[in-house]
Amino acid sequence: MRRYTPYMLLTPALLFTVFILVYPMAQNLVNSFRDVSLVREGRGWTGLLNYEHVFGDAVFWLAFRNTVVYAVAGTLLALLIGLGLALVLDVHTGKMSSVAAGLYSIPWVISPVVAGFAWKWLLNDHFGILNYWLSSAGIARHGTSWLGNPHTALFCVMVARAWQFYPFAMVMFLAGLQSIPAEQYEAASVDGASPLRKFFHITIPNLRPVSSVLLLLGVIWSFNDFNMVFVMTRGGPINASMVLPVLVREFSFVHFDLGKGSALSVLIFALLVTLSFLYLRVLARRERA
């Protein structure tokens, strides 16, 4: 009896895991080899046809490229902002630093939908405050539609995403900074090292492990991110800011082609599994170190 207790305790949780993970994965795979539609009777097994449709779709390649840019560049930007703010917070101590850390974390706490909404309104072509400032400074013409322009839409969404993610990086970097032994800095001071030298030879190397974890986690999370793009641009204009998660919804619930949507889902999952294993390896290396 005692031997089975842990498994009994785990059963409800495992049922939920089957419901959210195991069953959907299996069903997706089945869907992706079949013709499944939301609006008409499906035609049964079609082999690799759905995958051919996905790969033959120019929007897929555009969305793939956009997702990579969005995930990698957006994460790098978030890491830079996070590191900058963590350095600022590290200088100060006590209550003020704690209050400031709280304020700087707000973008991470509010819902991604609210974040997307706030940025969309900030960037509004006629009444947004950003356009007013930019046109007053002579940088951009008044009425510039940043989200309506195919050349700038993805960039804007990426900045908004970085804005949501940087507090996470900031908190992690701050923890990293505070765990660097003071002796290392003291020894460098005795040797007469400049602050810049200390930064590049002590701070940066010490932050390398946490940076690699953050980079991978950030890329994985942004790769999965549906919210920011959907709320700000719906993937437009003319797919200029389309990313893979939004495209799944487009295929499945706008074009009603569940088979093609499932094929794309399977591809996204394969990409994600690769990234996750990379993440686990980085974690494992950290533990050994």
Binding site: T5, P6, L9, L10, P12, A13, F16, T17, I20, L21, Y23, P24, M25, Q27, N28, N31, V88, H92, M96, S98, A100, G102, Y104, S105, I106, P107, V109, I110, S111, V113, F117, A118, K120, L122, F127, G128, I129, Y132, W163, V171, M172, A175, V213, F223, N224, F226, F230, L244, V248, S252, S262, L264, S265, V266, I268, F269, L272, V273, L275, S276
Partner: protein
């Protein structure tokens, strides 16, 4: 004086990073004539709380709020119940398969919503749970579960086994020991975990968007996210909705910031 010099850049940075949110707050207090004015002003004499009242008439936000409360509180309760059973198993038993199951849980945290949404949609449709509170509650519970188990595992492991052994000697069963000894001791941890779960469900957008389809079930983020494209003429009321919606997360965050940060670190690094 030196203190102020140090404080100034920190405060300016706070204003800068909060700019999008502050602009939304400013808009939420303006009448439409002020919203559609150029050049825009941060503060105007005509500001009032009127948009906060109007939004409840223009869009069904009272219904959305009720839906959000029902879904988030039910999902939290269910996740905590299922999660503490599982976390107890991981924290107090050594059994074959333990490592593998933990790994699957860890991986399901990386789960791309887009990769599971179509089968979930089909399943809920077949079961008659599409566009219902229960359907969304089950999905939110499943999504939140790995992280909740992880957090609770940490809290339970921190409780010394001797306390529990004493209860076992007194004739309690393992489950009674969990209920009578471990859970009360882990109460602060349970509270923090409940907050995480509540916020996760409260802010969740993707599943709620696709698995609900009517005013009777849609949550606040769906209301905001869907109408951002369509009701662009009432930016002040939409801003008011966005601000109101952000208040519970902000309050919970202020109250639990330490645990929040610790949980964050635990979730990513352990």
């Amino acid at each position: 004086m030196k203190k102020i010099l140090l404080l100034l850049p920190v405060a300016l940075l706070a204003l800068l990073v909060l700019l999008p949110f502050l602009w939304t707050v400013s808009t939420s207090l303006k009448p439409l004539t002020e919203v559609n004015r150029y050049p825009p002003e941060w503060i105007s004499p005509t500001m009032s709380l009127k948009p906060y009242g109007d939004m409840f008439f223009y869009l069904p936000f009272s219904r959305y709020t009720l839906n959000s409360l029902i879904v988030a509180s039910s999902a939290t309760t269910l996740t905590l119940f299922v999660g503490s059973l599982a976390a107890f198993a991981f924290a107090r038993f050594r059994f074959p398969g333990r490592k593998q199951i933990l790994l699957v849980l860890l991986l399901s945290q990386m789960l791309p919503g887009a990769s599971v949404i179509i089968p979930l949609f089909q399943l809920l449709k077949t079961a008659g749970l599409y566009d219902t509170h229960i359907g969304l509650i089950l999905v939110h519970t499943a999504v939140l579960l790995p992280f909740v188990i992880w957090l609770l595992h940490g809290f339970f492991s921190g409780i010394p086994t001797e306390v529990e052994d004493a209860a076992l000697i007194d004739g309690c069963s393992r489950l009674e020991a969990l209920r009578r000894v471990i859970l009360p001791l882990a109460l602060p941890g349970l509270g923090a975990t409940a907050l995480f779960a509540f916020l996760g469900s409260w802010n969740e957008f993707f599943f709620a968007l696709i698995l609900t389809n009517s005013d009777a079930t849609q949550t606040i983020p769906v209301g905001i996210g869907l109408f951002v494209g369509e009701f662009e003429d009432v930016w002040n009321q939409m801003s008011a909705a966005a601000v109101l919606f952000s208040i519970p997360p902000l309050i919970l965050f202020m109250a639990m910031r330490r645990t929040f940060v610790r949980g964050l670190a635990a979730g990513a690094l352990q």
